[in-house]
Amino acid sequence: MTESIGIVLGKLAFVLLFVLNFGGVLTWVERKQSALMQDRIGANRAAIFGFRAIGLFHGIADAVKMFTKESFRPANAEKFIFTLAPAISVFFALIGFAVIPFGDKLLLGGTEINLQLAPLNVGVLYLFAVAGMAVYGVVLGAWASRNNYALLGGLRAAAQMISYEVALGVSIFGCIMIYQTVDLQEIVRWQGGYWGGWLPAWGVFLQPVGFILFLTVGIAETKRIPFDAPEGESEIIGYNLEYSGMGFGMFLLTDFIETVMIAAITVTLFFGGWQVPYLMPDGFHFPWGGTVELANWAVAILQVVSFTFKVIFFLWLQMTIRWTLPRFRYDQIMRLGWKYLLPISLANIVITGFLILMLK
Protein backbone atom coordinates (compact mmCIF):
# COMPACT_ATOMS: atom_id res chain seq x y z
CA MET A 1 0.00 0.00 0.00
CA THR A 2 2.64 2.49 -1.02
CA GLU A 3 0.76 3.79 -4.02
CA SER A 4 0.59 7.54 -4.39
CA ILE A 5 -2.74 9.33 -4.38
CA GLY A 6 -2.46 10.01 -8.09
CA ILE A 7 -2.27 6.31 -8.93
CA VAL A 8 -5.22 5.54 -6.69
CA LEU A 9 -7.26 8.30 -8.31
CA GLY A 10 -6.27 7.02 -11.74
CA LYS A 11 -7.42 3.51 -10.88
CA LEU A 12 -10.60 4.93 -9.38
CA ALA A 13 -11.32 6.84 -12.58
CA PHE A 14 -10.66 3.74 -14.64
CA VAL A 15 -12.96 1.51 -12.60
CA LEU A 16 -15.72 4.09 -12.39
CA LEU A 17 -15.60 4.84 -16.10
CA PHE A 18 -15.44 1.12 -16.86
CA VAL A 19 -18.56 0.44 -14.83
CA LEU A 20 -20.59 3.49 -15.77
CA ASN A 21 -19.78 3.11 -19.45
CA PHE A 22 -20.83 -0.51 -19.36
CA GLY A 23 -23.99 0.53 -17.51
CA GLY A 24 -24.75 3.12 -20.16
CA VAL A 25 -23.91 0.91 -23.11
CA LEU A 26 -26.06 -1.84 -21.62
CA THR A 27 -29.15 0.29 -22.23
CA TRP A 28 -28.19 0.21 -25.90
CA VAL A 29 -27.27 -3.47 -25.78
CA GLU A 30 -30.58 -4.31 -24.15
CA ARG A 31 -32.53 -2.61 -26.93
CA LYS A 32 -30.44 -3.90 -29.79
CA GLN A 33 -29.83 -7.41 -28.55
CA SER A 34 -33.48 -7.99 -27.76
CA ALA A 35 -34.30 -6.65 -31.21
CA LEU A 36 -31.91 -9.02 -32.93
CA MET A 37 -33.19 -11.94 -30.88
CA GLN A 38 -36.75 -11.12 -31.94
CA ASP A 39 -35.98 -10.41 -35.61
CA ARG A 40 -36.51 -6.68 -35.14
CA ILE A 41 -34.25 -3.69 -35.78
CA GLY A 42 -34.51 -1.94 -32.44
CA ALA A 43 -34.30 1.69 -31.40
CA ASN A 44 -32.55 3.63 -34.16
CA ARG A 45 -34.24 7.02 -34.30
CA ALA A 46 -32.15 9.22 -32.00
CA ALA A 47 -29.83 11.15 -34.29
CA ILE A 48 -27.29 13.93 -34.01
CA PHE A 49 -27.07 15.92 -37.27
CA GLY A 50 -28.86 13.10 -39.04
CA PHE A 51 -26.22 10.64 -37.92
CA ARG A 52 -27.87 7.71 -36.20
CA ALA A 53 -24.91 5.55 -35.10
CA ILE A 54 -27.08 2.41 -34.96
CA GLY A 55 -29.09 3.75 -32.07
CA LEU A 56 -26.19 4.54 -29.73
CA PHE A 57 -27.55 8.02 -29.06
CA HIS A 58 -30.65 6.64 -27.41
CA GLY A 59 -28.73 6.32 -24.15
CA ILE A 60 -27.87 10.02 -24.32
CA ALA A 61 -31.47 10.85 -25.17
CA ASP A 62 -32.58 8.82 -22.15
CA ALA A 63 -30.17 10.66 -19.90
CA VAL A 64 -31.30 14.05 -21.19
CA LYS A 65 -34.92 13.06 -20.70
CA MET A 66 -34.38 11.81 -17.17
CA PHE A 67 -32.39 14.83 -16.08
CA THR A 68 -34.86 17.34 -17.48
CA LYS A 69 -38.01 15.55 -16.33
CA GLU A 70 -39.75 16.63 -13.17
CA SER A 71 -38.66 14.52 -10.22
CA PHE A 72 -42.08 14.13 -8.70
CA ARG A 73 -42.52 13.29 -5.06
CA PRO A 74 -45.94 12.23 -3.74
CA ALA A 75 -47.38 14.50 -1.07
CA ASN A 76 -47.45 11.79 1.58
CA ALA A 77 -44.04 10.36 0.82
CA GLU A 78 -41.31 10.33 3.44
CA LYS A 79 -39.37 13.23 1.99
CA PHE A 80 -35.83 12.47 3.11
CA ILE A 81 -35.78 8.71 2.59
CA PHE A 82 -37.68 8.93 -0.69
CA THR A 83 -35.00 11.20 -2.07
CA LEU A 84 -32.16 9.21 -0.58
CA ALA A 85 -33.26 5.70 -1.63
CA PRO A 86 -32.13 5.76 -5.29
CA ALA A 87 -28.76 7.10 -4.19
CA ILE A 88 -28.37 4.28 -1.64
CA SER A 89 -29.30 1.80 -4.31
CA VAL A 90 -26.79 3.03 -6.88
CA PHE A 91 -24.09 3.65 -4.25
CA PHE A 92 -23.98 0.08 -3.01
CA ALA A 93 -24.09 -1.21 -6.55
CA LEU A 94 -21.04 0.90 -7.43
CA ILE A 95 -18.72 0.42 -4.46
CA GLY A 96 -18.59 -3.35 -4.92
CA PHE A 97 -16.25 -2.84 -7.86
CA ALA A 98 -13.53 -1.55 -5.54
CA VAL A 99 -12.30 -5.07 -4.80
CA ILE A 100 -12.61 -6.56 -8.29
CA PRO A 101 -9.10 -7.08 -9.70
CA PHE A 102 -8.88 -6.14 -13.35
CA GLY A 103 -5.22 -6.95 -13.88
CA ASP A 104 -2.02 -8.17 -12.22
CA LYS A 105 0.88 -5.90 -11.32
CA LEU A 106 1.83 -3.08 -13.66
CA LEU A 107 5.34 -1.63 -13.38
CA LEU A 108 5.25 2.07 -14.21
CA GLY A 109 8.40 4.10 -13.77
CA GLY A 110 9.70 1.90 -10.96
CA THR A 111 6.48 1.79 -8.96
CA GLU A 112 4.49 -1.40 -8.84
CA ILE A 113 0.80 -0.80 -9.38
CA ASN A 114 -1.64 -3.42 -8.21
CA LEU A 115 -4.46 -3.31 -10.76
CA GLN A 116 -7.18 -3.53 -8.15
CA LEU A 117 -8.73 -0.49 -6.58
CA ALA A 118 -8.79 -1.69 -2.98
CA PRO A 119 -6.50 -4.64 -2.21
CA LEU A 120 -8.70 -5.96 0.56
CA ASN A 121 -7.82 -9.33 2.06
CA VAL A 122 -11.51 -10.06 2.79
CA GLY A 123 -12.69 -9.16 -0.71
CA VAL A 124 -15.38 -11.82 -0.99
CA LEU A 125 -16.88 -10.95 2.38
CA TYR A 126 -16.89 -7.28 1.42
CA LEU A 127 -18.69 -8.11 -1.82
CA PHE A 128 -21.42 -9.97 0.03
CA ALA A 129 -21.75 -7.21 2.58
CA VAL A 130 -22.27 -4.74 -0.26
CA ALA A 131 -24.66 -7.04 -2.10
CA GLY A 132 -26.61 -7.44 1.11
CA MET A 133 -26.96 -3.68 1.45
CA ALA A 134 -28.28 -3.35 -2.10
CA VAL A 135 -31.77 -4.37 -1.03
CA TYR A 136 -32.02 -1.38 1.31
CA GLY A 137 -32.34 1.17 -1.46
CA VAL A 138 -35.20 -0.78 -2.97
CA VAL A 139 -37.04 -1.43 0.28
CA LEU A 140 -36.58 2.08 1.64
CA GLY A 141 -37.67 3.64 -1.65
CA ALA A 142 -40.73 1.42 -1.80
CA TRP A 143 -41.68 2.11 1.80
CA ALA A 144 -41.06 5.85 1.62
CA SER A 145 -43.32 6.18 -1.43
CA ARG A 146 -46.42 5.59 0.70
CA ASN A 147 -47.91 3.61 -2.12
CA ASN A 148 -49.39 0.17 -1.57
CA TYR A 149 -48.19 -1.23 -4.86
CA ALA A 150 -44.70 0.11 -4.32
CA LEU A 151 -44.72 -1.38 -0.84
CA LEU A 152 -45.75 -4.75 -2.28
CA GLY A 153 -42.80 -4.49 -4.65
CA GLY A 154 -40.54 -3.62 -1.75
CA LEU A 155 -41.78 -6.60 0.25
CA ARG A 156 -41.18 -8.90 -2.68
CA ALA A 157 -37.72 -7.42 -3.13
CA ALA A 158 -36.92 -7.99 0.53
CA ALA A 159 -38.19 -11.57 0.48
CA GLN A 160 -36.52 -12.46 -2.80
CA MET A 161 -33.19 -10.79 -2.24
CA ILE A 162 -32.78 -12.02 1.33
CA SER A 163 -33.71 -15.57 0.28
CA TYR A 164 -31.19 -15.53 -2.50
CA GLU A 165 -28.58 -13.82 -0.34
CA VAL A 166 -28.33 -17.06 1.61
CA ALA A 167 -27.81 -19.18 -1.47
CA LEU A 168 -25.45 -16.54 -2.90
CA GLY A 169 -23.13 -16.87 0.05
CA VAL A 170 -23.36 -20.63 0.31
CA SER A 171 -22.91 -21.24 -3.42
CA ILE A 172 -19.32 -19.98 -3.45
CA PHE A 173 -18.12 -21.63 -0.25
CA GLY A 174 -16.96 -24.51 -2.40
CA CYS A 175 -14.75 -22.13 -4.35
CA ILE A 176 -13.32 -20.51 -1.25
CA MET A 177 -12.57 -23.95 0.22
CA ILE A 178 -10.51 -24.77 -2.85
CA TYR A 179 -8.80 -21.39 -3.19
CA GLN A 180 -8.13 -21.20 0.58
CA THR A 181 -8.46 -17.42 0.47
CA VAL A 182 -11.09 -14.68 0.31
CA ASP A 183 -8.74 -12.14 -1.28
CA LEU A 184 -10.02 -11.72 -4.82
CA GLN A 185 -6.59 -10.91 -6.27
CA GLU A 186 -5.20 -14.10 -4.69
CA ILE A 187 -8.19 -16.05 -6.00
CA VAL A 188 -7.40 -14.89 -9.54
CA ARG A 189 -3.69 -15.68 -9.12
CA TRP A 190 -4.62 -19.16 -7.90
CA GLN A 191 -6.46 -19.71 -11.16
CA GLY A 192 -3.28 -19.04 -13.14
CA GLY A 193 -2.16 -22.65 -12.91
CA TYR A 194 -2.72 -25.47 -15.39
CA TRP A 195 -3.91 -29.03 -15.13
CA GLY A 196 -2.10 -31.55 -17.23
CA GLY A 197 -0.04 -28.64 -18.45
CA TRP A 198 -2.71 -27.20 -20.73
CA LEU A 199 -6.14 -26.79 -19.09
CA PRO A 200 -6.37 -23.43 -17.28
CA ALA A 201 -7.14 -24.02 -13.62
CA TRP A 202 -10.27 -21.89 -13.73
CA GLY A 203 -12.85 -22.24 -11.02
CA VAL A 204 -15.54 -23.32 -13.42
CA PHE A 205 -13.77 -26.63 -14.06
CA LEU A 206 -13.48 -27.29 -10.33
CA GLN A 207 -16.90 -26.01 -9.34
CA PRO A 208 -19.29 -26.43 -12.29
CA VAL A 209 -22.28 -26.79 -9.97
CA GLY A 210 -21.14 -23.83 -7.92
CA PHE A 211 -20.86 -21.78 -11.11
CA ILE A 212 -24.42 -22.54 -12.26
CA LEU A 213 -25.77 -21.88 -8.77
CA PHE A 214 -23.88 -18.62 -8.46
CA LEU A 215 -24.95 -17.35 -11.87
CA THR A 216 -28.60 -18.19 -11.15
CA VAL A 217 -28.54 -16.51 -7.77
CA GLY A 218 -26.57 -13.61 -9.20
CA ILE A 219 -29.21 -12.99 -11.85
CA ALA A 220 -31.83 -13.12 -9.11
CA GLU A 221 -29.87 -10.47 -7.20
CA THR A 222 -30.01 -8.08 -10.15
CA LYS A 223 -33.83 -8.34 -9.89
CA ARG A 224 -34.20 -8.45 -13.63
CA ILE A 225 -36.31 -10.90 -15.61
CA PRO A 226 -36.74 -13.86 -14.91
CA PHE A 227 -36.47 -12.78 -11.26
CA ASP A 228 -38.18 -9.40 -11.53
CA ALA A 229 -40.96 -10.05 -9.02
CA PRO A 230 -40.00 -6.85 -7.12
CA GLU A 231 -40.77 -4.92 -10.27
CA GLY A 232 -43.59 -7.08 -11.63
CA GLU A 233 -44.42 -4.55 -14.32
CA SER A 234 -47.59 -6.24 -15.46
CA GLU A 235 -49.22 -6.48 -12.05
CA ILE A 236 -47.78 -4.08 -9.44
CA ILE A 237 -45.41 -1.85 -11.45
CA GLY A 238 -42.97 -2.29 -8.63
CA TYR A 239 -40.90 -0.62 -5.97
CA ASN A 240 -40.03 2.29 -8.28
CA LEU A 241 -43.66 3.13 -9.02
CA GLU A 242 -43.65 6.66 -7.57
CA TYR A 243 -40.26 7.59 -8.96
CA SER A 244 -39.79 9.72 -12.03
CA GLY A 245 -36.92 11.55 -13.61
CA MET A 246 -33.47 10.72 -12.39
CA GLY A 247 -34.74 8.92 -9.29
CA PHE A 248 -36.20 6.31 -11.56
CA GLY A 249 -33.12 6.53 -13.73
CA MET A 250 -30.90 5.66 -10.80
CA PHE A 251 -32.94 2.56 -10.00
CA LEU A 252 -32.70 1.61 -13.65
CA LEU A 253 -28.95 2.23 -13.65
CA THR A 254 -28.62 0.13 -10.50
CA ASP A 255 -30.02 -2.88 -12.31
CA PHE A 256 -27.54 -2.45 -15.15
CA ILE A 257 -24.61 -1.87 -12.79
CA GLU A 258 -25.57 -4.97 -10.83
CA THR A 259 -25.60 -6.89 -14.09
CA VAL A 260 -22.02 -5.76 -14.73
CA MET A 261 -21.22 -6.56 -11.11
CA ILE A 262 -22.49 -10.14 -11.34
CA ALA A 263 -20.60 -10.60 -14.61
CA ALA A 264 -17.41 -9.29 -12.99
CA ILE A 265 -17.75 -11.47 -9.89
CA THR A 266 -18.51 -14.55 -11.99
CA VAL A 267 -15.45 -13.91 -14.11
CA THR A 268 -13.28 -13.33 -11.05
CA LEU A 269 -14.39 -16.39 -9.15
CA PHE A 270 -14.95 -18.91 -11.91
CA PHE A 271 -13.26 -17.79 -15.11
CA GLY A 272 -9.83 -16.75 -14.02
CA GLY A 273 -10.48 -13.00 -13.76
CA TRP A 274 -7.77 -11.24 -15.74
CA GLN A 275 -5.91 -14.47 -16.53
CA VAL A 276 -5.12 -15.04 -20.19
CA PRO A 277 -4.48 -18.70 -20.97
CA TYR A 278 -0.72 -19.43 -21.19
CA LEU A 279 0.21 -15.82 -20.39
CA MET A 280 2.86 -15.65 -17.67
CA PRO A 281 4.17 -12.35 -16.24
CA ASP A 282 6.94 -12.37 -18.87
CA GLY A 283 4.96 -13.46 -21.92
CA PHE A 284 3.21 -16.42 -23.49
CA HIS A 285 4.42 -19.92 -22.65
CA PHE A 286 2.45 -22.31 -24.81
CA PRO A 287 2.10 -25.92 -23.68
CA TRP A 288 3.39 -27.05 -27.10
CA GLY A 289 6.67 -25.36 -26.48
CA GLY A 290 6.60 -21.92 -28.05
CA THR A 291 7.23 -18.77 -26.06
CA VAL A 292 6.50 -15.17 -26.88
CA GLU A 293 8.33 -12.59 -24.81
CA LEU A 294 6.18 -9.61 -23.83
CA ALA A 295 6.92 -6.45 -21.90
CA ASN A 296 5.22 -5.89 -18.58
CA TRP A 297 2.91 -3.19 -19.90
CA ALA A 298 1.78 -5.39 -22.81
CA VAL A 299 0.97 -8.20 -20.37
CA ALA A 300 -1.01 -5.78 -18.19
CA ILE A 301 -2.98 -4.51 -21.19
CA LEU A 302 -3.71 -8.06 -22.34
CA GLN A 303 -4.95 -8.90 -18.86
CA VAL A 304 -7.29 -5.92 -18.70
CA VAL A 305 -8.57 -6.71 -22.20
CA SER A 306 -9.07 -10.34 -21.23
CA PHE A 307 -11.03 -9.34 -18.15
CA THR A 308 -13.15 -6.95 -20.22
CA PHE A 309 -13.97 -9.56 -22.83
CA LYS A 310 -14.92 -12.11 -20.22
CA VAL A 311 -17.20 -9.55 -18.59
CA ILE A 312 -18.73 -8.75 -21.99
CA PHE A 313 -19.45 -12.42 -22.56
CA PHE A 314 -21.30 -12.70 -19.27
CA LEU A 315 -23.19 -9.49 -19.94
CA TRP A 316 -24.28 -11.02 -23.22
CA LEU A 317 -25.30 -14.22 -21.47
CA GLN A 318 -27.32 -12.36 -18.85
CA MET A 319 -29.02 -10.28 -21.52
CA THR A 320 -29.86 -13.42 -23.47
CA ILE A 321 -31.37 -15.04 -20.42
CA ARG A 322 -33.26 -11.87 -19.58
CA TRP A 323 -34.82 -11.76 -23.05
CA THR A 324 -35.49 -15.50 -23.26
CA LEU A 325 -37.24 -16.47 -20.06
CA PRO A 326 -40.57 -15.31 -18.72
CA ARG A 327 -40.88 -14.17 -15.13
CA PHE A 328 -41.00 -16.81 -12.43
CA ARG A 329 -44.06 -16.75 -10.28
CA TYR A 330 -43.46 -15.60 -6.71
CA ASP A 331 -43.95 -19.09 -5.26
CA GLN A 332 -41.65 -20.53 -7.92
CA ILE A 333 -38.96 -18.03 -6.96
CA MET A 334 -39.25 -18.98 -3.31
CA ARG A 335 -39.33 -22.71 -4.04
CA LEU A 336 -36.37 -22.48 -6.38
CA GLY A 337 -34.39 -20.49 -3.86
CA TRP A 338 -35.09 -22.42 -0.68
CA LYS A 339 -35.85 -25.93 -1.89
CA TYR A 340 -33.39 -26.32 -4.74
CA LEU A 341 -30.61 -23.73 -4.82
CA LEU A 342 -29.85 -23.71 -1.09
CA PRO A 343 -29.81 -27.52 -0.56
CA ILE A 344 -27.78 -28.03 -3.74
CA SER A 345 -25.34 -25.36 -2.57
CA LEU A 346 -25.01 -27.08 0.80
CA ALA A 347 -24.52 -30.45 -0.87
CA ASN A 348 -21.91 -28.82 -3.08
CA ILE A 349 -19.98 -27.71 0.00
CA VAL A 350 -20.11 -31.17 1.57
CA ILE A 351 -19.02 -32.95 -1.61
CA THR A 352 -16.28 -30.41 -2.27
CA GLY A 353 -14.97 -30.75 1.28
CA PHE A 354 -15.07 -34.54 1.00
CA LEU A 355 -13.15 -34.47 -2.28
CA ILE A 356 -10.56 -32.05 -0.87
CA LEU A 357 -9.95 -34.42 2.06
CA MET A 358 -9.79 -37.43 -0.26
CA LEU A 359 -7.29 -35.85 -2.63
CA LYS A 360 -5.02 -34.47 0.06
Binding site: M37, R40, T324, L325, L336
Partner: protein, 200 residues
Protein backbone atom coordinates in the same frame (compact mmCIF):
# COMPACT_ATOMS: atom_id res chain seq x y z
CA UNK B 1 -42.05 -26.62 -32.19
CA UNK B 2 -44.30 -25.82 -29.24
CA UNK B 3 -44.40 -28.42 -26.50
CA UNK B 4 -47.85 -28.37 -25.02
CA UNK B 5 -47.21 -29.38 -21.46
CA UNK B 6 -49.61 -31.77 -19.77
CA UNK B 7 -50.59 -30.03 -16.55
CA UNK B 8 -51.48 -33.26 -14.80
CA UNK B 9 -48.13 -34.91 -15.40
CA UNK B 10 -45.77 -34.07 -12.53
CA UNK B 11 -42.41 -32.64 -13.52
CA UNK B 12 -39.37 -34.84 -13.18
CA UNK B 13 -36.55 -33.64 -10.96
CA UNK B 14 -34.47 -32.51 -13.91
CA UNK B 15 -37.42 -30.56 -15.31
CA UNK B 16 -38.03 -28.97 -11.92
CA UNK B 17 -34.59 -27.42 -11.96
CA UNK B 18 -35.79 -25.59 -15.11
CA UNK B 19 -32.32 -26.09 -16.58
CA UNK B 20 -33.17 -28.11 -19.74
CA UNK B 21 -35.91 -25.65 -20.71
CA UNK B 22 -33.66 -22.69 -19.99
CA UNK B 23 -30.81 -24.11 -22.05
CA UNK B 24 -33.01 -24.91 -25.04
CA UNK B 25 -34.64 -21.47 -24.85
CA UNK B 26 -31.31 -19.68 -24.63
CA UNK B 27 -30.00 -21.71 -27.57
CA UNK B 28 -33.03 -20.76 -29.66
CA UNK B 29 -32.82 -17.05 -28.93
CA UNK B 30 -29.07 -16.91 -29.32
CA UNK B 31 -29.34 -18.67 -32.67
CA UNK B 32 -31.67 -15.87 -33.79
CA UNK B 33 -29.27 -13.33 -32.33
CA UNK B 34 -26.18 -14.60 -34.14
CA UNK B 35 -27.94 -15.31 -37.44
CA UNK B 36 -29.47 -11.83 -37.49
CA UNK B 37 -26.23 -10.21 -36.36
CA UNK B 38 -24.35 -11.89 -39.22
CA UNK B 39 -26.99 -10.80 -41.71
CA UNK B 40 -26.93 -7.21 -40.45
CA UNK B 41 -23.15 -7.08 -40.71
CA UNK B 42 -23.12 -8.62 -44.20
CA UNK B 43 -25.79 -6.18 -45.35
CA UNK B 44 -23.80 -3.29 -43.90
CA UNK B 45 -20.95 -4.36 -46.19
CA UNK B 46 -23.31 -4.41 -49.13
CA UNK B 47 -23.79 -8.16 -49.48
CA UNK B 48 -27.15 -8.99 -51.03
CA UNK B 49 -28.96 -11.60 -48.96
CA UNK B 50 -31.99 -13.70 -49.74
CA UNK B 51 -33.33 -13.49 -46.19
CA UNK B 52 -33.90 -10.31 -44.28
CA UNK B 53 -32.30 -9.80 -40.88
CA UNK B 54 -35.40 -8.11 -39.48
CA UNK B 55 -39.07 -8.10 -40.31
CA UNK B 56 -39.43 -4.49 -39.20
CA UNK B 57 -41.16 -1.99 -41.48
CA UNK B 58 -39.63 1.41 -40.69
CA UNK B 59 -42.93 3.16 -40.34
CA UNK B 60 -42.88 6.83 -41.22
CA UNK B 61 -40.67 6.23 -44.25
CA UNK B 62 -42.17 2.94 -45.30
CA UNK B 63 -45.83 2.18 -44.97
CA UNK B 64 -47.28 -1.15 -44.16
CA UNK B 65 -49.44 -2.55 -46.95
CA UNK B 66 -53.12 -2.34 -46.08
CA UNK B 67 -55.72 -4.97 -46.76
CA UNK B 68 -58.29 -3.74 -49.28
CA UNK B 69 -61.21 -4.13 -46.91
CA UNK B 70 -59.54 -2.28 -44.04
CA UNK B 71 -61.76 0.48 -42.61
CA UNK B 72 -59.97 3.80 -42.48
CA UNK B 73 -61.05 7.45 -42.29
CA UNK B 74 -64.49 8.22 -43.74
CA UNK B 75 -65.22 10.08 -46.95
CA UNK B 76 -68.43 11.16 -48.64
CA UNK B 77 -68.98 10.35 -52.31
CA UNK B 78 -70.35 12.76 -54.91
CA UNK B 79 -72.87 12.51 -57.72
CA UNK B 80 -71.86 13.10 -61.30
CA UNK B 81 -72.82 16.76 -60.94
CA UNK B 82 -70.57 17.10 -57.91
CA UNK B 83 -73.23 17.34 -55.22
CA UNK B 84 -73.03 14.93 -52.27
CA UNK B 85 -74.72 11.57 -52.77
CA UNK B 86 -75.98 11.79 -49.23
CA UNK B 87 -79.75 12.27 -48.93
CA UNK B 88 -79.68 12.90 -45.18
CA UNK B 89 -81.78 9.81 -44.47
CA UNK B 90 -80.17 9.52 -41.04
CA UNK B 91 -79.60 5.76 -41.46
CA UNK B 92 -75.94 6.05 -40.53
CA UNK B 93 -76.64 8.37 -37.64
CA UNK B 94 -79.24 5.88 -36.36
CA UNK B 95 -77.11 2.78 -36.72
CA UNK B 96 -73.94 4.34 -35.31
CA UNK B 97 -73.15 2.53 -32.03
CA UNK B 98 -70.81 5.29 -30.91
CA UNK B 99 -73.31 8.04 -31.75
CA UNK B 100 -70.58 10.05 -33.39
CA UNK B 101 -72.41 11.13 -36.57
CA UNK B 102 -74.33 14.42 -36.50
CA UNK B 103 -76.39 15.27 -39.60
CA UNK B 104 -78.50 18.38 -40.11
CA UNK B 105 -80.80 17.85 -43.08
CA UNK B 106 -81.80 20.48 -45.58
CA UNK B 107 -84.21 20.61 -48.52
CA UNK B 108 -82.61 19.97 -51.88
CA UNK B 109 -84.29 22.75 -53.82
CA UNK B 110 -82.67 22.29 -57.24
CA UNK B 111 -83.71 18.64 -57.59
CA UNK B 112 -87.18 17.93 -56.12
CA UNK B 113 -86.81 14.21 -56.84
CA UNK B 114 -84.07 13.83 -54.24
CA UNK B 115 -85.83 15.99 -51.68
CA UNK B 116 -83.14 16.11 -49.00
CA UNK B 117 -79.45 16.83 -48.65
CA UNK B 118 -77.19 17.38 -45.62
CA UNK B 119 -76.63 20.96 -44.59
CA UNK B 120 -73.95 19.74 -42.25
CA UNK B 121 -72.51 16.25 -41.79
CA UNK B 122 -70.09 15.87 -38.89
CA UNK B 123 -68.31 12.75 -37.67
CA UNK B 124 -66.50 12.94 -34.36
CA UNK B 125 -63.52 10.67 -34.92
CA UNK B 126 -62.71 10.93 -31.24
CA UNK B 127 -65.80 8.82 -30.59
CA UNK B 128 -65.87 6.70 -33.75
CA UNK B 129 -65.11 3.03 -33.21
CA UNK B 130 -64.49 2.30 -36.93
CA UNK B 131 -67.11 -0.45 -37.01
CA UNK B 132 -68.19 0.40 -40.55
CA UNK B 133 -71.91 0.14 -39.80
CA UNK B 134 -72.51 3.54 -41.41
CA UNK B 135 -71.08 2.24 -44.66
CA UNK B 136 -73.23 -0.88 -44.42
CA UNK B 137 -76.38 1.08 -43.60
CA UNK B 138 -76.09 3.70 -46.33
CA UNK B 139 -78.67 3.09 -49.08
CA UNK B 140 -77.01 5.58 -51.41
CA UNK B 141 -73.36 4.45 -51.21
CA UNK B 142 -72.69 7.97 -49.97
CA UNK B 143 -70.26 7.17 -47.18
CA UNK B 144 -67.20 4.99 -47.52
CA UNK B 145 -64.19 4.19 -45.35
CA UNK B 146 -61.54 3.63 -48.01
CA UNK B 147 -59.33 6.71 -47.75
CA UNK B 148 -56.40 4.72 -46.38
CA UNK B 149 -55.85 7.43 -43.77
CA UNK B 150 -54.91 5.86 -40.46
CA UNK B 151 -52.86 8.64 -38.90
CA UNK B 152 -55.70 10.48 -37.23
CA UNK B 153 -54.57 12.69 -34.38
CA UNK B 154 -55.12 16.21 -33.18
CA UNK B 155 -54.25 18.48 -30.32
CA UNK B 156 -57.88 19.32 -29.52
CA UNK B 157 -61.09 17.35 -29.29
CA UNK B 158 -62.74 19.69 -31.77
CA UNK B 159 -59.97 18.97 -34.22
CA UNK B 160 -61.11 15.35 -34.34
CA UNK B 161 -64.43 16.34 -35.92
CA UNK B 162 -64.70 15.78 -39.66
CA UNK B 163 -67.08 18.09 -41.48
CA UNK B 164 -68.93 17.81 -44.78
CA UNK B 165 -66.42 19.68 -46.91
CA UNK B 166 -63.46 17.68 -45.60
CA UNK B 167 -65.13 14.36 -46.20
CA UNK B 168 -66.27 15.36 -49.67
CA UNK B 169 -62.74 16.36 -50.60
CA UNK B 170 -61.14 13.05 -49.58
CA UNK B 171 -60.22 10.58 -52.27
CA UNK B 172 -59.90 6.78 -52.08
CA UNK B 173 -56.24 5.96 -51.64
CA UNK B 174 -55.97 2.67 -53.42
CA UNK B 175 -52.20 3.11 -53.81
CA UNK B 176 -51.70 2.34 -50.15
CA UNK B 177 -53.61 -0.90 -50.40
CA UNK B 178 -52.18 -4.14 -51.60
CA UNK B 179 -53.93 -5.24 -54.76
CA UNK B 180 -54.82 -8.89 -54.91
CA UNK B 181 -56.01 -10.81 -57.95
CA UNK B 182 -58.86 -13.30 -57.82
CA UNK B 183 -56.52 -16.10 -56.82
CA UNK B 184 -55.40 -14.15 -53.79
CA UNK B 185 -51.97 -13.39 -55.25
CA UNK B 186 -50.45 -9.97 -54.67
CA UNK B 187 -50.48 -8.09 -57.97
CA UNK B 188 -49.42 -4.63 -56.88
CA UNK B 189 -47.55 -3.74 -53.75
CA UNK B 190 -44.67 -1.47 -54.67
CA UNK B 191 -43.57 -0.62 -51.18
CA UNK B 192 -43.31 -4.19 -49.95
CA UNK B 193 -39.99 -4.24 -51.75
CA UNK B 194 -39.10 -0.82 -50.45
CA UNK B 195 -38.67 -2.07 -46.92
CA UNK B 196 -35.70 -4.10 -48.07
CA UNK B 197 -33.91 -0.81 -48.45
CA UNK B 198 -34.57 0.18 -44.86
CA UNK B 199 -31.41 0.32 -42.80
CA UNK B 200 -30.78 -0.63 -39.21
Amino acid sequence: MINVHDKHKPLTFIEKTYLPAIVSGVLLTSRHFFVNLTRHILRAFGVKLKNMAAVTIQYPEFLRPLFPRLRTMHRLTRREDGTPRCVACMMCETVCPAKCIYIIADEKLENPQIEKMPRSFDIDLGLCVFCGYCVEACPEDAIRMDTGILEISNYTRNGMILDLETMLSLEPMSSRYVQYDRGGEVVSADYIDERHRSDA
